[in-house]
C-alpha cells in the first residue's frame, strides 16, 4: 500500500459480521459492516441503544474478534487489543485502589517503560493529567473525585499512551449536561492539538455533530448495519455557541434526527 492509501484507509473494516452465541441460541449483532477511517479523522457512531455500536468499537479495540470479515489498523490486521488503540470506557474503569497518578502511570509504564526511566514516565503521567486539567487531583483516589473528573482521568490515561487511534465508548454518557459540554470542548481542543484519529460511540446528536468529521448512523439490530454516513463539513475550530444559530449545523442535526426518528425509529420496548 502506498502511504497515501494508508492515510485514507487508516482504520479499515471489511465485510464484518458479528454473531454472539447466547444461551437462547445465536444472535447476529452486526451484518456487513464496511467502513474506512482516514488518519486524523473524528468519527462518531450513532444509533439507538442495542444497535451494536459498542460492538463495532470493541472490534476495533480488539476486545472482540469478528465472526466474519477483517479489521485493519495502519495496514495491520487487528488481532488483539494493543496500546496503539486506546479506549476511554463509558464507566471510566479506573482502578479504585490506585490514585489518579498511579492509574495513568500504569498505562504509561506499559507503553514507554522499556525505553524510558522512571522520571520520564512520571513526567509523561503528569503532563497527561495536566492536559485534562487535573494537576491538583493527582494523588486522589477515584472515589474521592467527581464523575467528570474520573472521566478526565480516563481520557488522560488513554492519551498518555500516545495512541494512533482513540476509541471513546459513550465517554460522557454518565455526566450531567454542563460537565459534558465542558469536556466536549476540551476533547475538541485536545484532538486538534494531537491530530490523533478518533472513533466515538454516542447517542447524543449534538455531541456527534459538534465533534465529528463524519457521523456513521447505524440501523436497528438485530443484524444492524451502517445505514448512512453523514459528512460534517463545518469549519474548525468549532464554537458551541456560534453553531447553535448556524444553518449548516441545524441542517446536519436535523438529518441525524430524521434518520434516527423517521427512517429507523425504534419501537418503544
Amino acid at each position: 500500500m502506498t502511504s497515501n492509501v494508508m492515510q485514507d484507509r487508516y482504520v479499515l473494516i471489511e465485510n464484518v459480521n458479528m454473531t454472539f452465541q447466547t444461551k437462547k441460541g445465536s444472535f447476529q449483532a452486526l451484518k456487513d459492516i464496511n467502513l474506512n477511517i482516514r488518519e486524523g479523522e473524528f468519527i462518531s457512531i450513532i444509533g439507538h441503544s442495542g444497535c451494536g455500536k459498542s460492538t463495532v468499537l470493541n472490534l476495533i479495540a480488539g476486545l472482540l474478534q469478528p465472526t466474519d470479515g477483517y479489521l485493519f489498523c495502519a495496514g495491520r490486521e487487528i488481532a488483539k487489543p494493543g496500546p496503539e488503540r486506546a479506549v476511554v470506557f463509558q464507566n471510566h474503569s479506573l482502578l479504585p485502589w490506585l490514585t489518579c497518578f498511579e492509574n495513568v502511570y500504569l498505562a504509561v509504564e506499559r507503553v514507554f517503560g522499556d525505553k524510558e526511566g522512571q522520571a520520564q514516565l512520571a513526567d509523561r503521567t503528569r503532563a497527561a493529567l495536566e492536559l485534562v486539567g487535573l494537576s491538583h487531583a493527582m494523588e486522589k483516589r477515584p472515589n474521592e473525585i467527581s464523575g467528570g473528573m474520573k472521566q478526565r482521568v480516563g481520557i488522560a490515561r488513554a492519551l498518555a499512551m500516545e495512541p494512533k487511534v482513540l476509541l471513546l465508548d459513550e465517554p460522557f454518557g454518565a455526566l450531567d449536561a454542563l460537565t459534558r459540554a465542558g469536556l466536549q470542548d476540551e476533547l475538541m481542543s485536545i484532538m486538534a492539538r494531537s491530530g490523533c484519529t478518533a472513533v466515538m460511540v454516542t447517542h447524543d446528536v449534538d455531541e456527534a455533530v459538534l465533534l465529528s468529521d463524519r457521523i456513521v448512523m447505524m440501523t436497528n439490530g438485530p443484524a444492524a448495519t451502517i445505514g448512512e454516513i453523514l459528512e460534517v463539513d463545518l469549519p474548525r475550530p468549532r464554537k458551541r455557541l456560534e453553531l447553535v444559530e448556524d444553518a449548516g449545523y441545524t441542517h446536519l442535526r436535523s438529518e441525524v434526527l430524521k434518520f434516527l426518528y423517521e427512517r429507523h425509529a425504534k419501537k418503544a420496548a
Binding site: 482502578l95 490506585l98 506499559r110
Partner: protein
Amino acid sequence: MSVVSFYKEKNMQESQPAAPAATTKPIAAVVTPLSTTAAVATPSLQRRGTWAATAKMAFEWLLPPVIGLIIFGAIWATVSALTQGLPGPVKTWHSAVELFSDPFYINNPNDMGIGWNILNSLKRVATGFALAAIVGIPMGFVIGRYAFMSRMAAPIISLLKPVSPLAWLPIGLLVFKAANPAAIWVIFITAVWPMIINTAVGVSKVPQDYMNVAKVLNLSEWKVVTKILLPYVMPYMMTGVRLSIGAAWLVIVAAEMLTGGVGIGFWVWDEWNNLNVEHIIIAIFIVGIVGLLLEQLLVLVAKRYSYE
C-alpha cells in the same frame, strides 16, 4: 468498641440511620456507638454537657451486655447449686486466680502451666494456618482465574469440603508417624478450604471492566495479578482467612484431645481424667476468649488491607 462480634453488627445497623439524623436532631448522635461520639458532638450537645452524653452512651451500650452476663452467671450458679459436682462461678473464679498466678511452670513434660498449653495450641494453629495460606491462596487464584482449573478442582473440593477435618487425623498419624505433625495436618485441612474457595470466588468476581483495562493496556500477567487481582480479591481473601482461623481454633481442641501432648485440648481431657471440673470450665472460657481475640485481630488486619 464492643468486643462481641454480633453486638458489633447490631450497632452498625442501628448507627447508620442515626448518623444522618444527627445533623437535624443532635441528641441522636448519642446512640452512635464507639468512643468517637465525643469528637463529633454538636455544639448543642456540648451545651447539654458531655457528662450526660457519656452517661447515656454507657447506659445504652454497656448496660445490656452487663445484664446479659449477670443472667448467664445466675443461671450457671443455679444449675451448679442443683447439680452434684458442677462448680459455680465463685468457685471457678478462685480456681482460675490460682491457675493464672503461675501460668508458666514446668514440673515435667506432662505437667506444664496453662500458659504453655495455650501457647502450644496457638503454635499448632499458626503453623497449620500458615501452611494452609501458602497452599490455599495461590490455589484459589489459579482456580478463580482459569475456568479449566475451576472445573478440574470442583469435584474434589465439593467432595472433600464437607468432611470433618478430624477424619483426616488417622491419615496424618499414618503418614507423619507423630502426634504433633498430625494435629498440624488437621488444622491445615480445616483452614485450607475457606481460603481456596473465598480467594477463587473473589478472583472470579473481578469486574470485566477491569479485565478490559488490563487487555487494552496489554498488561503483563504479573501486573494483572499485582495491580488488579490482588487488590480486588484482598477483602474476599481476608474473609476466607477469618473463617479459617475461627474453624482452626475450634478444631484444635478436638484434635489435641485425640493426639495428646501439651495443648489446651489435651489439658481439658487431662483435667477430665483428674475430675477437676473447674479447670474444664476455665478451659472453655480460655478457648472462647482466645478465639474471639484471634478473630478481632484479623478483622483489624482486614480493615488495614481493604482499599475502600
